[in-house]
């Protein structure tokens, strides 16, 4: 029997599921771990490690092993995605109005106008200096970073590893970034419902995932209005503005949750060309995109993950092609 627990953390809904006698003990320990991680890595908390790093830009700062690991991953994916995944867009994100947590923005219904100064021109994330031997980091003076998806993926991965110590079969989801370890005892894999980005209360498809990771990026989830303009949280580093995308959401299925999160974001911002180059370079990667009409498009093998009988029930407006 699989048991689950749902709670709010990292400004999103977290779901833990586990099988076995020690499942509940494991989920309680994992919840504590996730709550602690939020305190350490949220850019919205004044005492977090990320806030401290941004505050001391221009100086060498000793950081924890965990933050060093995240920064190394961020550097790796920045290079791999040719800068489309860029944690240094925080100034642009704040400028677009996302300067407080989404829960607070939604509660107040008001965002600041474009008055915040943009990041110093000429700064690039590649200028960040890392000294892994000494666990020291130096951001270029004036740069602020938001590890966003990397931090969430890292937390989900570590949380799943922790839960796996208690349970052979488990899953961790944080706002739709999901990592499964093992298969449920019925051997039928994990069911994951793909939300319709135009109406999250409706499902476009039922996916069946044997194990591994699923992550989705969407331009319709974290949205707000600023000076009469619709804004969202995915900044295109090439323009410094919320990305103009041909798809509403992109879901990536692959073994690693951090890669899934980064690739989903990058494919959504970069579009079809980036998607094709990624799927050619990574045979383990599958992506499913939802276009403006609710149609599903994706990599050649994406239909293998769609549970066909359920598609008749859930493909309410779109069609799997």
């Amino acid at each position: 029997m699989i048991r689950s627990i749902e709670f709010r953390a990292m400004n999103t809904t977290v779901l833990l599921a586990a099988e076995g006698e020690r499942a509940i003990d494991g989920m309680q320990a994992t919840k504590i771990f996730i709550d602690e991680c939020e305190q350490r890595f949220s850019r919205f908390l004044p005492a977090s490690e990320i806030t401290e790093l941004n505050h001391f830009s221009g100086e060498w700062l000793k950081v924890s092993d965990d933050l060093m690991e995240m920064l190394e991953l961020a550097q790796k994916y920045y290079e791999e995605t040719k800068g489309i995944f860029d944690p240094s867009i925080l100034a642009d994100l704040k400028n677009a109005g996302y300067d407080r947590s989404m829960d607070i923005i939604r509660a107040s219904g008001v965002v600041n106008n474009q008055s915040a100064p943009k990041q110093f021109p000429g700064l690039a994330f590649s200028q960040m200096s890392l000294d892994p031997d000494e666990n020291k980091v130096r951001l270029p003076r004036g740069m602020e970073i938001d590890l966003g998806g990397i931090a969430k993926g890292w937390i989900v991965k570590q949380a799943a590893r922790l839960l796996h110590r208690y349970s052979e079969v488990c899953g961790v989801s944080a706002g739709g970034d999901i990592l499964f370890i093992g298969q449920p005892e019925d051997g039928l894999g994990w069911d994951v419902y793909l939300e319709d980005p135009r109406d999250p209360s409706r499902m476009l498809a039922q996916l069946n995932i044997p194990s591994g990771a699923v992550a989705t990026s969407s331009v319709t989830k974290r949205t707000w209005r600023q000076a009469g303009k619709s804004r969202h949280h995915l900044i295109d580093p090439r323009t410094g503005e919320p990305a103009q995308t041909e798809w509403l959401s992109v879901t990536v299925i692959c073994p690693d949750i951090i890669a899934a999160d980064v690739y989903a974001k990058t494919i959504l911002i970069g579009g079809r060309g980036v998607a094709e180059s990624f799927t050619e370079a990574n045979p383990d990667l599958t992506f499913i995109a939802v276009d403006l009409q609710g149609n599903l498009v994706g990599s050649p093998n994406f239909k293998e993950f769609i549970y066909e009988p359920a598609s008749n029930l859930f493909l309410s407006t779109g069609t799997a092609r």
């Binding site: 048991r3 627990i5 509940i24 739709g176 994951v192 939300e195 992550a215 989705t216 989830k221």
Partner: protein
Amino acid sequence: MKIFKFGLRLWITITSVLTFIVGWVMLAHAPKPSQSSSSSQAIATPLPTLEPLPGLFQENGKTVQNNDLPNQPLFFNNQPRFRQNPFFSTGGS
């Protein structure tokens, strides 16, 4: 006078013994307290048959026995609650 006193004592003794014996015999033949008399049965009113009370745990109108429920700890309302059949969905955050 002595004869009168002796006679009085003898009369009291015999009367007491006889009264004790008669009482013993009467109680020995009286109906036992657990045996209800026919008259009490005659006035008893039959009780109406009541519908069974609903159970504390019901699922789709069918009562679930307490020992059928999973062994889950109880939490206060402000605590996250454990449940079965997780619903995983993905749509971004």
